[in-house]
């Protein structure tokens, strides 16, 4: 039942939405939503499932974006999707390096490691001009998006390409968290000592979490730069973006692949909603004030969710559905 629901949703998203949607829907909502969702899934694997906090997601996104750009530029005849995969692998390799301290450090001491990644990567990408192909402005236009001869450069095309990539990787993530690897991560998260006693390879699990999470963030970065921003620049991957991705998984639901999508939808739609409300109720289109209100709202929501609903929007959704099911009694309740 659940499978068919998801399949139907995907079919609509892939076949119907590109025909009926407009440019605004694709460029301002759906494409950034997909890229952020993927980054959220990646961070959730690391933070939600394996219990290692990171505020460096944007750095790994930047690595992915720049790696894809450079592979595309320097390797002739490389298929676009291959450059996506190579970008993910590059991000994974760097992720392992910055994940190494996790073998010795726990909790928020790890913050320093991931912050180091955030600052160092951004600095290196701006400072060494080779990464940007010696472009004087440091802002590179993303390459043409074509897979197997089909052009995906239009708004709808970029959305479809993002959707395909995100759907595939999300499917893998869903399988992964229910595999032995996923169970190992949760064991490490819940009690590392107990995990070690029952024979979970702690070091390997943690490093694997960093690698896979960085892979996801890397590919998300490619989508963010190529499909959403359409430029590759290190300013597109600030610490603020890292925080937002952390917020996505807190609001959406820690340790839930679906949660990343809920959270990303929320983070993308909230500012648009606020500026609409500001425009229609107060007649002001002051984007500065809307931004500040958004900041306060996000902060309040983070605290509220941590206090009242630590499992995030996902758990609200499930509870709502269960309640609805009881009311209607013919809709099957979701398995938790």
């Amino acid at each position: 039942m659940r499978f068919w629901l998801v399949a139907a949703l995907l079919a609509v998203a892939l076949l119907v939405v590109p025909r009926v949607g407009n440019t605004y829907l694709f460029d301002a909502i759906l494409t950034p939503f997909l890229a952020l969702s993927l980054a959220g899934v990646g961070l959730n694997l690391l933070t939600g499932y394996a219990g290692q906090i990171s505020v460096g997601s944007a750095a790994f996104m930047a690595i992915g974006a720049f790696a894809a750009y450079n592979f595309n530029l320097r390797v002739p005849h490389l298929p676009l999707l291959a450059s996506f995969a190579l970008a993910g692998l590059t991000a994974a390799a760097v992720g392992i390096v910055f994940g190494l301290p996790s073998l010795r450090l726990k909790g928020f001491y790890l913050l320093v490691s991931t912050l180091a990644a955030q600052y160092f990567v951004q600095w290196a990408l701006t400072n060494f001009h080779w990464f940007a192909n010696d472009d004087p402005s440091g802002v590179i236009t993303a390459p043409q998006l074509a897979v197997a001869g089909i052009d995906f450069s239009s708004s709808a095309g970029r959305y479809v390409l993002s959707l395909a990539v995100v759907a595939t990787l999300t499917f893998v993530a869903l399988r992964l968290v229910h595999s032995q690897t996923g169970r190992n991560w949760m064991a490490v998260r819940d009690k590392d000592l107990a995990a070690a006693v029952i024979g979970v390879p702690i070091f390997r699990s943690k490093l694997l979490a960093f690698a896979i999470s960085s892979f996801y963030c890397g590919v998300a970065g490619v989508l963010w730069a190529f499909a959403y921003l359409r430029t590759v620049e290190s300013d597109g991957f600030t610490l603020d973006l890292s925080f937002r991705i952390l917020f996505i998984i807190i609001i959406g639901g820690l340790a839930s692949v679906r949660g990343a999508f809920f959270g990303a939808a929320f983070i993308v739609v909230l500012p648009l909603l606020l500026s609409r409300i500001g425009a229609s109720f107060f007649g002001t289109t002051d984007s500065g004030i809307a931004e500040l209100v958004e900041m306060i709202l996000i902060g309040v929501l983070i605290i509220a969710f941590l206090i009242a609903e630590p499992a995030g929007l996902v758990s609200l959704w499930d509870r709502g559905r269960r309640r609805l099911a009881r009311l209607l009694s013919f809709v099957p309740a979701p398995q938790s």
């Binding site: 219990g51 906090i53 301290p101 996790s102 073998l103 010795r104 450090l105 726990k106 909790g107 928020f108 001491y109 913050l111 320093v112 490691s113 912050l115 180091a116 600052y119 160092f120 951004q122 600095w123 701006t126 400072n127 060494f128 590392d192 702690i202 943690k206 610490l239 925080f243 952390l246 917020f247 807190i250 500065g288 004030i289 500040l292 209100v293 958004e294 900041m295 306060i296 996000i298 902060g299 309040v300 929501l301 983070i302 605290i303 941590l306 206090i307 630590p310």
Partner: protein, 293 residues
């Protein structure tokens, strides 16, 4: 040689400013085990409030007192509405809550007082004074003096007063502290209020240096490596760590910067802190030996 001394002294003096921010962290961490990410936001809030009050023609002393009262109230509110409901949660959860809190405070501060840059003049001249071959700004000297006074005052407070004793008891063992009748929420409220006061001092000095603006809240990020180096729960460590980070940053920028195109100040502190963590996870003066993963 004298150039090196110049660089070193310059670094040490900017390190004093880092220490000031780190002190606020240590206060909270020592008593409640929370890494308060909102400390930087509190620095911004304090500085903005003070500047805006003086710009509304309030006298210096009155503005200072009002801001002080507001910061104390803010500390109490945070304890009441953020920390209390999250008692007994993991340190990661608490950290994320303070991250959310920092967004709230930053947003509120700017919504309340506007986003433009304010100049702040404390009446301390920023003129260099000659000490032998080294020139030191009078402002930096005053800042260092204030930092030293605050550390001395805080140390005395922890060692000699009843409240300080309660602080140490809570830091040592929360359950035992509750068992002997200490009220955790009171101690925490006082700690957060104190952190607010420290934020005010840091905000005034930083604000006078850089102008009061949004970027003040990012000094919080500079304080993290300081804490790692000095140990999260050591007041002396905050000072020594701050000085070390300041000195390392300046010397690295002068001696390594030219070879890699400059801008090393943004990350060198983190990389040093990271390397240091791998060797000595508890920091220079940290109390608790970190559990090996």
């Amino acid at each position: 040689m004298s150039f090196f001394v110049d660089v070193l002294v310059g670094g040490l003096l900017s390190g004093v400013m880092y220490s000031l921010v780190a002190l606020g962290f240590v206060l909270i961490y020592k008593t409640s085990g929370v890494l308060n990410f909102a400390q930087g936001a509190m620095v911004l809030f304090a500085a903005l409030t003070f500047v805006s009050l003086t710009e509304h023609k309030l006298p210096f002393a009155v503005s200072l007192l009002v801001t002080l009262a507001i910061m104390v109230a803010l500390g109490w509110l945070i304890e009441r509405f953020v920390l209390k409901p999250l008692v007994n949660q993991s340190s990661i959860t608490l950290f994320m809550a303070t991250l959310g809190l920092s967004y709230v405070i930053e947003g509120a501060a700017q919504l309340l007082w506007g986003t433009e840059v304010h100049g702040l003049d404390l009446g301390i001249p920023d003129t260099p004074m000659q000490f032998g071959s080294v020139a030191i700004s009078e402002f930096d000297l005053v800042a260092a003096l204030i930092a030293a006074t605050m550390v001395a005052a805080l140390t005395l407070f922890f060692r000699t007063t009843r409240t300080g004793l309660a602080f140490r008891a809570v830091a040592d063992d929360q359950l035992a502290a509750i068992a002997v009748g200490l009220r955790l929420s009171h101690v925490w409220a006082i700690a957060w209020a104190l952190a607010g006061v420290v934020a005010l001092v840091a905000g005034l000095l930083w604000g006078a240096r850089l102008g009061v603006q949004f970027s003040l809240s990012t000094v919080v990020l500079k304080a993290l490596p300081v804490l790692v180096l000095g140990g999260f729960d050591s007041i002396a460590g905050a000072i020594v760590g701050g000085l070390l980070i300041g000195a390392i940053e300046k010397s690295a920028e002068v001696y390594i910067g030219p070879f890699v195109g400059g801008g090393t100040e943004g990350w060198i502190a983190y990389v040093v802190a990271l390397g240091f963590l791998l060797v000595r996870p508890a920091g220079l003066f940290g109390q608790r030996e970190l559990v090996r993963a």
